[in-house]
């Protein structure tokens, strides 16, 4: 090996850490490219499209109009009514899901007879595709041959069949009920898993100090569960805010738009009416709202000293 070539080798030589970083980067490069391709590119093109007014049709000619699509929606009462309706759906469904999910998780945690069967069967509603879930509940709610009317009539709660989905104030709550059936198991499973990892000694210590069951639950167990609750809440809130498929199947937004949520409105604008620009702008507004909500949760519930 001649001195000159030796010098070149020295120059090209990288430290061990640099080499590792390079290999590491090369290894993640394919997945980075894929992620950029399937998530960033659509986001950028949606943002781009939202700045245009286009006549009907996906490939139609477009005129640049800046942020006019956004300002139109933000000053449109229909938009705010729809946001209000979506928030109602989100708050009621996620709120009830959390309470019920926590109750079921507690129940499983006490290991009653058959708790393993209960835990396994909980997966089923969660595993059913939402669209199938929607179709099932549409049948259940049917006024003339649905199971709900049949059940309530036999129990003597109603004296004749009720057309549930024709009442604007009832229809939304029934969609929420169908969503509960699907999503409570998700929260229950997350919280049950978190409960299983909680140290028992803290509660025992609290019991020795004379705390009753309620105090132990509220002051010891619940704070320990906070990281798991945060995860469940963020995921479910974002999902609930974007609810679409279950509404599409059960009510198609009816009666009289009473179940049109913001995602459904976006779908109508984008695909049914062909307003690509307006639909894209709505998609971005949805993202904005979900980000705000996620931020609020993290502010409220996340403590940096805790590990998720």
């Amino acid at each position: 090996m001649s001195p000159s070539s030796h010098g070149e080798t020295m120059q090209r030589k990288r430290t061990l850490a640099q080499q590792d970083a390079l290999v590491g980067f090369a290894l993640i490069l394919p997945s980075v490219l894929i992620i950029l391709g399937i998530s960033l590119q659509p986001i950028i093109s949606t943002l781009y499209l939202s700045l245009f007014e286009s006549s009907r049709g996906i490939n139609a000619e477009r005129t640049f109009i800046g942020f006019a699509n956004y300002t139109t929606f933000l000053s449109d009462p229909v938009f705010w009514i729809t946001i209000g309706r979506t928030l109602y759906f989100t708050l009621v469904s996620v709120g009830l899901e959390l309470v019920l999910g926590l109750a079921i998780a507690q129940l499983i945690h006490t290991h009653p007879p058959g708790w393993q069967f209960l835990r396994t069967s909980l997966i089923i509603p969660w595993a059913v595709p939402t669209i199938v879930n929607g179709t099932m509940w549409r049948w259940i709610y049917n006024a003339d041959y649905g199971a709900m009317n049949g059940l309530l009539l036999q129990l003597g709660i109603i004296d004749k069949y009720i057309p549930w989905l024709t009442k604007p104030n009832v229809a939304m709550n029934l969609v929420i009920l169908a969503d509960l059936w699907h999503s409570v198991p998700f929260i229950a499973l997350i919280l049950q898993a978190a409960l299983a990892t909680l140290p028992a000694d803290l509660e025992e210590a609290a019991a020795v100090d004379g705390a009753n069951a309620l105090q132990r639950f509220l002051l010891v167990r619940l704070p320990l569960l906070r990281p798991a609750i945060l995860v469940a809440l963020v995921i479910r809130t974002v999902e609930a805010f974007r609810v679409f498929d279950i509404i599409y199947v059960i009510t198609n937004g009816g009666p009289a738009y009473s179940t049109v949520t913001i995602s459904f409105l976006t779908y109508l604008e984008m695909f049914s009416f062909g307003h690509v620009g307006r639909g894209s702008a709505l998609s971005f507004l949805i993202s904005l709202f979900t980000l705000i909500m996620a931020f609020i949760y993290i502010r409220m519930l996340y403590r940096p000293e805790e590990k998720l």
Partner: protein
């Protein structure tokens, strides 16, 4: 270590190249594949459509047709979405009468004017050609020439002491009152008034049957007048009185068929396909043999004898399809007189010649339902009204659906609701 690293890089390079190459559309070797999008609703059954595809594939070894089904209410949005890709996901798709203007303008449907033969022109109903024709150009082949019919359960009517079906909507309410009071059925009539296109179809029947119209000669909305308000108020009143099944406000055609098939309604309004399923198919119906069809009633004093809705559809070739000739060949086969005659249980032919002379007798004999549906078609079709052919139809329709629903759920008066919808139509037409 170095060797391993080089191997890793090489491996990654291969993966990346392969993934890029894999994105290129593959040139199909062998038969040209034609992908067809159609609906599973209010027309031929999936079995019938599959059988036609089977016949075609057998007779044309160089073409392979693959067919997919969606519900009617998903069809429009699926077509507009898939047309964004090139080549499009479907070479052939089913287009409703009311979408042809939009699809022609957006460049989705291929202009097939040159492919229409003189034979087709002469032998197919002139009304059928109106479906795919926009601005003098033909953007598809008519396939389903349908309208809504009035169905009644003769057995239930006889129990209530009526020998004949109602000729007017007023008479219908008189009969409904007796049917309800005697406890024969709780809700004598069931409609498809859900927040779907189906509601517009039923509304057209009632509006035109009252002497009204959706649009005037200039294409401006004409439904927010005295006749429109009177008609919509009538609908609301029949729900309040318990003559209309209140669940109608959430129903589409299939719900109507299910309720009617269970004998829970004495009257129903639906497309041709319901007759065979409700009157002859014991798996689908509890009232086989009890169902009759009659001319759609109209309102007294309206000067109308009858009014119905023209709900016709055609098949289009995707304008960007790479296999246009093969696609057209399949459409020609599907809409040919022979195929349409043989598969006429749930859909009558577009061919006028099928309804003439000896052919008529033959057509009436193809399936048990045809003996009734074929003469009914001839009787009812002169009274069928079309919806406006405008490129913004889906949005206009949604506004009118909302108006009907707002009135039916008592959120607005019929007048307020119709005025709001008409204002939207004016705005869209600008």
């Amino acid at each position: 270590m170095k060797a391993i690293r080089s191997m890793l890089f090489a491996l990654m390079a291969i993966i990346m190249i392969a993934s890029v190459v894999g994105c290129q559309p593959k040139q199909p070797a062998g038969p040209a594949t034609i992908r067809v999008l159609t609906m599973e609703q209010a027309g031929p059954t999936v079995d019938e459509m599959n059988a036609i595809v089977g016949e075609f594939n057998k007779a044309n070894p160089d073409i392979k047709v693959e067919i997919e089904y969606v519900s009617y209410d998903a069809l429009h949005d699926k077509i507009t979405t898939t047309m964004a890709s090139k080549p499009p996901a479907y070479d052939v798709f089913l287009v409703d009468d009311i979408w042809y203007a939009e699809f022609a303008k957006a460049g989705y449907s291929l202009d097939v004017s040159d492919r229409i033969t003189k034979d087709m022109r002469d032998k197919i109903f002139a009304a059928a050609w109106d479906i795919p024709t926009v601005g003098g150009k033909v953007y598809g082949m008519p396939w389903l020439l349908d309208e809504k019919y009035f169905f009644y359960n003769e057995t239930l009517l006889k129990q209530a002491g009526f020998d004949a079906p109602p000729a007017t909507w007023e008479e219908l309410l008189t009969q409904a009152k007796v049917l309800k009071e005697q406890g024969i059925v709780e809700y004598p009539i069931v409609w498809s008034w859900g927040q779907y296109e189906a509601a517009i179809c039923d509304w057209v029947i009632l509006l035109y049957g009252n002497g009204g119209s959706l649009v005037d000669d200039k294409g401006a909305p004409a439904f927010n007048n005295e006749i429109g308000v009177k008609t919509l108020s009538w609908m609301v009143q029949t729900v309040d009185d318990g003559y209309t099944n209140p669940a109608s406000i959430s129903y589409v055609e299939e719900d109507v068929r299910n309720v009617f098939s269970q004998g829970k309604a004495a009257f129903a309004v639906n497309w041709t396909y319901m007759y065979d399923l409700v009157n002859f198919n014991k798996d689908e119906s509890q009232v086989t043999g009890q169902i009759k069809m009659a001319l759609m009633p109209a309102f007294e004093g309206s000067g109308q004898e009858s009014a119905s809705i023209n709900g016709s559809m055609g098949f289009s070739v995707a304008a960007t399809s790479p296999n246009q000739d093969a696609a057209w060949k399949y459409i020609e086969f599907l809409t040919s007189e022979d195929v349409q005659n043989r598969y006429s249980a749930h859909l009558l032919p577009i061919w006028q010649t099928s309804f003439e002379g000896e052919n008529l007798t033959k057509l009436e004999g193809y399936t048990p339902a045809n003996a009734t549906t074929v003469p009914m078609f001839n009787k009812q079709f002169p009274f069928a009204h079309v919806r406006p052919k405008v490129s913004y139809y889906p949005e206009a329709s949604k506004a009118l659906q909302l108006a009907l629903q707002e009135a039916l759920t008592k959120q607005k008066t019929p007048e307020q609701a119709l005025n709001a919808a008409a204002a939207k139509w004016v705005e869209l037409g600008k």
